[in-house]
């Protein structure tokens, strides 16, 4: 599968990565190569096979409904690049 430049830019936007114009060509080639390589999976007959998301057989474990966390605002904000009055701060988001 050829990952053309348009697709590269679309993927970059979805991943929130900035790709310089001069890099787009290289990345397009790299990604195309990798995707072509993984396409060999098409040789495998997977009719009626259940997909596996996790190798373990366990069921989801439950937690009791109790408040045993939170009230750690200092820790939560400790590494924040920008914070004020207990909030995380970012450039204005327009809806």
């Amino acid at each position: 599968m050829d990952i053309d430049k348009k697709l590269v830019k679309k993927i970059a936007t979805l991943s929130k990565l900035k790709i310089e114009e001069k890099e787009v060509e290289i990345i397009s080639k790299d990604l195309s190569k990798i995707i072509t390589w993984v396409e060999k999976l098409n040789e495998v007959n997977t009719k009626d096979v259940t997909p596996v998301a996790n190798p373990s057989d366990i069921k989801i474990p439950f937690r009791e409904d109790e408040i045993n966390d939170g009230k750690i605002e200092e820790k939560v904000l400790k590494n924040a690049p920008e914070k004020k009055a207990g909030y995380f701060v970012v450039p204005k988001v327009v809806e």
Binding site: L14, K16, A53, N54, S56, I58, K59, I60, P61, F62, R63, E64, D65, E66, I67, N68, D69, G70, K71, I72, E73, K75, V76, L77, K84, A85, G86, Y87, F88, V89, V90, P91, K92, V93, V94, E95
Partner: protein
């Protein structure tokens, strides 16, 4: 309005209901509303490196309870998927939700419409997902402030079938759904605080034609807004089609102030959420015993309760609907009607929905905070029934009870309001009044019939209103007829 000129409006609603639980869906932080920013945030909620989700059993139970109350199928095996997108109030960069295999499958609810008819609205599915944090845009001009307290609270997303055909139906659907959720205690249904949110999907078509393109309307935060948004969209969409245009499939925001919807600025392209099963969470498996246990402990639902009230007490559908619209109304009624078998159901309903509601509304109170307890209202009703006091006096006593929280018995005694029903006593009072007003009696006898009321008034004055009006009327009529 929506069915004019052979136009048909096709509406589906997506409701996000915050689950009542102490802690969040995948973290042990509190779900309290209105705390200081970021004080109810765990490291998991803040998406610190290496943090992992662990599911809250009660939240799952609440979803099962809700599914059962919506006559829906509980899926014993369901999967959590990640919905991937970037937004500052979404710390993980993905929301844990359910996409292909939700916990609850298809169900339905009945809604009651104005004309007295009832309609079944299908429910496609219900699934569990995390709520996002809050962004505040008006603290600083060029900045947005992020509070993650809400991030990770459990939500149930309830998707209706596109069975809704009008603003009224949409509003009734939301009201009914809200009342069910409040009844069973899985969501407090508070739209102002945001614990119940509604997205409206709406398209129009000429009757008999194919389905139109739908628009999704977000930010519809009250029952009133639902009606306004639908009315506006109907106009907007039909106008576009009538002038030869096409409807864009898009997400629009409802503007409460203007009563209009507008296109969202930032959506040049559709979101690609890249759903995939969350590898941090094994499948959710629910045992039959658990479902049975929850089923057994379900309270009587409003629709069932309504039917039972009508059948048992022969009250009208309208009255029954009011009683079941709030669990507390029904409980209040129950207490009175079961307190004394002789009490008349229609009577009781009238007192609750008439006098009591009027005073509660005037004083901005909910029935659960009523100064008059159910048993005390019942007692008052008994006094009217056994003629201890007259209906008119009862109203005054009622107001006094509301103001002072005293029992009827005490007020009646203290103020000497007991009704006089002794006919001889009344007769002598009437004689007294007639004797004192001989000239008016003559005027009455010569045709001034209006004076009857004057005589009644005088008797009432003498007795401070406690004379039984019926008896007064009868005896007075007899005396004046002579």
């Amino acid at each position: 309005m929506q069915s004019s000129n052979n136009w048909e409006t096709i509406i589906g609603l997506e409701i996000h209901a915050q689950i009542i639980s102490k802690s969040k869906l995948f973290s042990g932080a509190s779900t309290n509303f209105g705390s200081e920013p970021n004080t109810q945030v765990s490291l998991v909620d803040a998406a610190m490196p290496g943090m992992l989700p662990v599911i809250n059993k009660d939240c799952v139970g609440q979803a099962i309870k809700t599914g059962l109350s919506l006559n829906a199928k509980i899926n014993k095996r369901s999967i959590f998927d990640r919905k991937n997108y970037f937004y500052p109030d979404l710390p993980q960069g993905y929301q844990i939700s359910q996409f292909t295999q939700p916990i609850v499958g298809s169900g339905s609810i009945q809604i009651d419409l104005k004309e007295g008819t009832s309609k079944k609205i299908g429910i496609t599915r219900l699934h569990l997902e995390q709520d996002a944090g809050k962004s505040i845009h008006d603290i600083e001009p060029n900045k947005s402030y992020i509070d993650l307290n809400r991030s990770g609270i459990a939500l149930m997303e309830i998707v209706s079938e596109p069975d809704i055909r009008s603003a009224e139906e949409a509003q009734e659907y939301v009201k009914k759904l809200r009342s069910i959720l409040r009844y069973i205690g899985t969501c407090d249904g508070n739209m102002e605080e945001g614990s119940l949110r509604c997205d409206v999907n709406i398209s129009v078509r000429k009757k008999g034609e194919e389905l139109g393109t739908r628009a999704e309307i977000k930010n519809v935060n009250s029952i009133k807004s639902i009606g306004q948004a639908i009315d506006y969209e109907f106009k907007r969409q039909t106008e576009i089609i009538n002038s030869g245009g096409k409807i864009d499939q898009e997400t629009r925001l409802f503007d409460e102030k203007k009563g209009e919807t507008r296109s969202m600025r930032s959506k040049e392209e559709a979101h690609d959420y890249r759903y995939f099963p969350d590898p941090d969470l094994p499948p959710l498996e629910i045992e039959d015993e658990w479902i049975e246990k929850i089923k057994k402990n379900l309270p009587e639902l409003p629709d069932v309760k309504k039917e039972n009230l009508i059948n048992q007490y022969k009250i009208s559908s309208y009255d029954a609907a009011i009683l079941v619209s709030d669990k507390n109304n029904a409980e209040f009624f129950d207490k009175i009607i079961t307190g004394n078998k002789k009490r008349n159901a229609k009577n009781v309903v009238n007192w609750i929905t008439g006098e009591l509601f009027a005073l509660l509304n005037k004083n901005n109170l909910e029935i659960k905070d009523s100064p008059i307890k159910a048993e005390d209202l019942g007692e008052l009703i008994d006094y009217i029934e056994d003629q201890t006091i007259s209906g008119k006096i009862a109203k005054n006593v009622f107001e006094e009870m509301f103001k002072t929280k005293k029992r009827a018995k005490d007020i009646i005694e203290k103020k000497g309001l007991k009704q006089i029903t002794d006919t001889s006593e009344i007769e002598s009072l009437i004689d007294k009044v007639l004797n004192n007003n001989k000239d008016k009696v003559d005027e009455y006898k010569s045709g001034k019939e209006k004076l009857f009321g004057y005589f009644v008034g005088q008797v009432m004055q003498e007795t401070k209103g406690t004379a039984n009006p019926g008896i007064v009327n009868d005896i007075l009529k007899k005396k004046l007829a002579k």
